[in-house]
């Protein structure tokens, strides 16, 4: 089961440079849909035609991950980087990073920097180059890098690694396409770009598709970690149906639809009310003329670190729930 997820996790795809992960997902989903194409922003769109007159159903999961972009190379051969997405500098410091061309490096804060003063400007990447000239042989300004990927099994059905945000969402969509027995609605599986830098890909893809119903899936939080703020959703108690986050209030029809299907299929669910942060859902809701939008959140511990942790039981429920939505005729 983890083989596909591993492929998704190991493929590179920092926001703005999603080519590698897009081609891995394309190969995976192609057998189950009628057409797969990429739009101007780089969103990967897999389309399975519905019955005549069917409503348009769009699923969205972002395939980009947080990372870094080289912005300056100094005379000593150290690289200054610009952050791509919400970087937790404490979690990223002293990490191995890697580039798509195989170059490896380490992300280090300037010596004698108090962790309280961690900010993008004090970090640099050491790729082991002896000077600027040697560094320029391996990297160019504008190249992307990321904290090295990993995926490990923990106890039971739990796994930890990065970037689980949001390759696990991509995995859910790919598995939904494979598990889907009937496709009554005109269905689009969209793997969006640049979510981590401000839900950018979801904006253009939903504008061109103009869905009637749209559902995102992305990682959420988990209220069972030590000293966290009170939060209902926990690992292992089922996929979470989003009610609201910092950027969207889901349409009640979307919430009820998912709840009813879960009840019918006996899939355990939880309900997510997130105080801050957002996902592609907010853009889907406002797409072109607007649509009925909802989302499934995968309960996740330690998001945006190299040890994002989830329970695969929750993920399986999410796949079953989305597959049952595919078979349900929307009107």
């Amino acid at each position: 089961m983890l083989d596909t997820l591993k492929k998704f996790v190991y493929a590179a795809g920092v926001s703005g440079d999603e080519g590698d992960i897009a081609s891995v997902i394309k190969k995976q989903i192609e057998p189950y849909v009628d057409e797969v194409y990429t739009d101007a922003m780089g969103n990967l769109i897999a389309h399975k035609k519905g019955i005549p007159g069917a409503k348009k159903l769009m699923f969205a999961s972002h395939m980009d991950e947080i990372g870094f972009m080289v912005s300056y190379i100094d005379d000593k051969g150290y690289l200054r980087v610009s952050k791509i997405g919400g970087i937790n500098w404490t979690a990223s410091s002293y990490s191995k990073v890697e580039f798509k061309n195989g170059t490896k490096g380490v992300l280090i804060p300037e010596a004698r920097t108090d962790p309280k003063d961690f900010r993008p400007e004090v970090f640099y990447v050491d790729i082991g180059a002896k000077d600027k000239k040697e560094a320029q042989k391996h990297v160019r300004i504008g190249d992307f890098c990321r904290v090295s990927p990993s995926l490990d099994r923990l106890c039971g059905k739990r796994v930890a690694g990065r970037p689980i945000d949001n390759r696990i969402g991509c995995y859910i969509l790919a598995e939904t396409a494979a598990a889907m027995k009937e496709c009554v609605n005109d269905t689009y599986f969209v793997f969006t770009v640049q979510e981590e830098v401000g839900v950018r890909g979801a904006k253009t893809s939903s504008f061109s598709i103009k869905p009637d119903y749209a559902f995102a899936t992305d990682i959420g939080g988990s209220g069972d970690i030590i000293n966290c703020a009170p939060f209902e959703v926990v690992l292992g108690k089922g996929i979470a149906i989003k009610i609201k986050d910092g950027m969207v209030i889901c349409h009640h029809t979307a919430v009820e639809l998912l709840s009813d299907l879960a009840k019918k299929e006996k899939i355990p669910v939880q309900y997510e009310i997130l105080e801050s942060g957002g996902t592609d859902t907010c853009m889907l809701q406002q797409a072109a003329g607007g649509c009925i939008a909802g989302a499934l959140s995968i309960p996740t511990r330690f998001g945006h670190s190299a040890v994002e942790t989830i329970d695969m039981g929750d993920v399986e429920g999410g796949i079953r729930l989305f597959a049952s939505l595919c078979a349900y005729k929307l009107d």
Binding site: A40, M69, Y72, R200, S208
Partner: protein, 348 residues
């Protein structure tokens, strides 16, 4: 090919065109380019859009934003002084003690932004910029009714300043940061023979870019022209290459060529298109530099994600002291920007 027309940049920069009142500037541009284009029109937002139609399906759209830093009149006191509010991301310390023009773009009047003499300031006032509430325009009318004969509440204003040539190929004027891209674009239009061109082109001179509103007028222009293969944004980027800033912190350096950004504060540009542009620039030996801090962020975001989205690249001219009455630009960088932009109209 004609070289960069600095006289035209001078004319554009001296013209009155704060955010929301760009019609005079756009009028000059329209006059200049009309005969070289198949179509020129204003959209509902006030953007000026020009088209050169091609025979093939390939369309490249160029964008530049034309509005400059400024203010508007929010009240007129009984003694005739005009109270103001800043437009967009201007700063009060740039305005204090400056000559300004106030009006509506058809007719403007001279005034000064009052600044109290230094010896009558309190310690606090000496060290802190005057807040916008306390700024006012002195027109010496003496009476509210007299000022109201000139303009009313809602009138626009901006700096009044001269264009001058400085040492080291530098030029100085107000609004250079807002008009350098437009000058590049007008020169670009000259270079296209509309009878012979295979490809189609759009040229969008957008308004209200410094309002800071997301999905602003530029997004409307992108939506209005519809599907394109590529968007090329022409603009300026503030340098921090001033006393003390070095390396990455300088952002970019005047005189080293136009900036090709890989990303900025709001946009990650198309990696493939950026790579292709850098390679072409190197081949053609056009000087260029990179955005060392991934700083800035103008209308590109609205264009890249307007409607169905478009692959986007950006060519920016480094500027010193943007949004002030004394913006400085190095001529070398204007020429570099024009040469880079021309790579997109050279058909193979």
């Amino acid at each position: 090919m004609k070289s960069f027309d600095f006289d035209f940049l001078r004319e554009l920069s001296l013209e009155f065109g704060p955010c929301g009142c760009e019609k005079a500037v756009l009028g000059i541009i329209k006059n200049r380019i009309e005969k070289y284009c198949d179509e020129t029109y204003y959209d509902a937002c006030g953007n000026l859009i020009a088209a050169i139609k091609g025979k093939s399906e390939k369309i490249t759209a160029f964008y530049t934003n034309v509005d400059e830093a400024g203010f508007y009149v929010k009240a007129i006191d009984d003694d005739g002084r005009a109270r103001i509010s800043l437009l967009g991301s201007g700063a009060t310390e740039y305005l204090s003690g400056r000559r300004v023009s106030v009006g509506n773009g058809v007719k403007t009047y001279d005034g000064v932004v009052a600044a109290r003499p230094i010896h009558s300031l309190s310690k606090d006032e000496e060290t802190k910029p005057t807040s916008a509430d306390k700024l006012y325009i002195e027109l010496c009318t003496g009476k509210k009714e007299e000022t109201e004969k000139l303009f009313g509440v809602g009138a626009f204003g901006t700096y009044k300043s001269e264009y001058s040539e400085l040492a080291g190929r530098y030029i100085k004027c107000k609004a250079l940061d807002a008009r350098a891209g437009a000058a590049v674009m007008c020169d670009l239009i000259y270079g296209i023979d509309k009878a012979k061109t295979e490809n189609g082109y759009y040229f969008c001179f957008t308004v209200m870019g410094s309002s800071g509103i997301r999905d602003g007028a530029a997004a409307a222009a992108a939506y209005n022209i519809g599907k394109c293969d590529l968007a090329v944004v022409l603009g300026t980027l503030g340098t921090s290459d001033l006393y003390g800033a070095e390396g990455r912190d300088a952002v970019c350096v005047c005189g080293e060529g136009a900036v090709i950004s890989d990303s900025d504060g709001r946009t990650i540009y198309s990696a493939e298109e950026v790579k292709a542009l850098k390679e072409k620039a190197e081949k053609a030996k056009i000087p260029y530099q990179e955005n060392r801090a991934c700083a800035g962020g103008g209308i590109s975001a609205d264009i890249q994600r307007g409607g169905e989205g478009v692959r986007t690249v950006c060519i920016e001219i480094p500027v010193k002291y943007p949004k002030t009455a004394s913006v400085m630009i190095n001529k070398t960088d204007c020429e570099s920007a024009l040469s880079l932009a021309r790579l997109y109209i050279t058909e193979e």
